[in-house]
Symmetry: C2
DNA sequence: GCGGAAATCTCAATTATTGGGATTTTTGTC
DNA sequence: GACAAAAATCCCAATAATTGAGATTTCCGC
């Protein structure tokens, strides 16, 4: 679809090399990886460095640079979901021995945008910025269950095995039924789908157009739940309410945007939501 | 010096439009601001959007996108100063009723890379990613005092009025003297330079090459200091020690880099430090 | 200070970017 | 649901900017 040309995209291709398991690249490595010629690559690197997106480590090559940090600050400021959700996230974390996350739905990806943690050594850590797959876990389903059919279908068929394995359903229709139930209930629960022994409890956050744009989630050790004499349903109800509160405040904001000089990003109507963040 | 051409730079010029007081831009506004033609601009916007650096708000134009968030996550992972300093920052915040910051020195800018706060409504808030000027405040001087002469000179002459106003010195030589004292003492203190009534106490963090790459800082209300019966020197001593500890752990890391698969960004030897982050 | 590697420069060829204007898609309104 | 205005995209020839081979300079470790 996208013609994949343009020197801009070749610039960004360099940034795309930097991943969680590879945070440093030497020019030589980039050259062989992307096949750019030497002068060209160095020109690109220079541009990226001047812009602050890369910074050179003395003998080791390049890493991501300070401009990224600066921009993230601006993003935090411009995202009402973060602004509004922060309090709820922290409230949940202090109420239960858990880590609680606010995860935004960006087209094809889930991205944690805020998190808090009230236990010493969390086994599954999802700090801001860490992407998560759109096919596993409570968060995933909280979102998925509330998408319009049109969008559910391709995702489900694309990850049918996953759903079967989890026990959500083995046919598309089965899965849809399960999702319908989740939608009605207002929250989703997952047992050890991401981390063994950890329960995930998530509820959707809606924009004023009834579309799910994020999910609020609490992850808590199964043992901790028992130790505290808590029922999953009880926690879930709190998560749901908190998510509803966030949705409500978001809607309020949109009707009276003076409070916040911004609005929820939502892309082309086609996708009903933002459709970007491709890595390839 | 930089020839300021290249379509890459014109792409980044669009990102540079987004600032703290202007988080949304419509294509029209960008066109008139940067003077790009319509098809070109839309092409650029598309590239930026596909890369996830921008996202379109339905009727309102564009904002910064999720890719920024994702990249910041990677930066946090790759920056040992953050990784190591986090604990010290939080320890200071919990010891005093203050906000404590870890600020990195990026060539011409100071950028907060981590902060913690232990008071309800901090009057001067410096969360991660917010840049600060290189000519005012305790942080500034903690860094400046420990730079090699070569680098001090231009900065001092460039902001002589500021220094005079603060009372650091009215001639370059005076300022240098003051800085020498600060260097010897190991920390710097500023009274209400950034926010009236708030004291800033900062100490430098060094990389293994003896160059200041960051500063640890505690900002505390003058009244709070008194109320707690604390002396500035006492707090300062703790800040200094914490900063020394960070420097020490950093040096350790560099000698045995196996613990952390990364190292401190430090640019061309010319500048002894990272020299980028230009906005223009 | 020397030698090898890394980064930058020069400049002509060429390719990919540009932009005027038509066209299509989207959005808001009736 | 349909209409008009605005927004975004498409088309394609002209052209200006990017590209890359190789020479040259700078950097870095010894």
């Amino acid at each position: 679809m996208s013609v994949s040309s343009g020197s801009g995209e070749r610039l960004f291709a360099i940034l795309d090399l930097f991943t969680e398991d590879r945070l440093e690249w030497t020019p030589q490595e980039i050259m062989t990886e992307l096949g750019y010629t030497r002068p060209t690559l160095y020109r690109y690197l220079r541009t990226l460095k001047d812009a602050g997106f890369l910074t050179s480590l003395p003998g080791r090559g390049f890493t991501l640079g300070p401009r990224v940090v600066e921009l993230d600050f601006l993003v935090r400021r411009s995202d009402p979901v973060v602004e509004i959700g922060r309090d709820q996230v922290e409230a949940l974390a202090s109420r239960y021995p858990c880590s609680s996350l606010l995860v935004r739905y960006y087209g094809k990806k889930l991205l944690c945008v805020h998190s808090a943690c009230s236990i010493p050594d969390p086994r599954s850590s999802y700090p801001r910025g860490r992407p998560m797959p759109l096919a596993r876990g409570a968060i995933s389903r909280a979102i998925l269950a509330n998408l319009p059919r049109r969008q559910q279908k391709p995702i489900i068929t694309g990850a049918l095995e996953d759903f079967a394995e989890i026990g959500i359903g083995s046919s598309v229709e089965d899965v849809l039924d399960s999702l319908r139930a989740i939608r009605r209930r207002g929250y989703s629960i997952a047992h050890g789908e991401v981390t063994p022994g950890v329960v995930g409890i998530a509820a959707p956050v809606f924009d004023s157009g009834r579309l799910p744009i994020a999910a609020l989630c609490v992850t808590i050790e199964e043992t901790a739940l028992k130790a505290q004499g808590l029922s999953e349903a009880e926690v879930a109800e709190n998560v749901r309410e908190a998510a509803v509160e966030i949705s409500f405040e978001l809607a309020e904001l949109q009707h009276d945007p003076t409070e916040f000089n911004d609005r929820i990003p939502a892309d082309d109507r086609k996708n009903s939501l933002i459709a970007q963040g491709e890595n390839t």
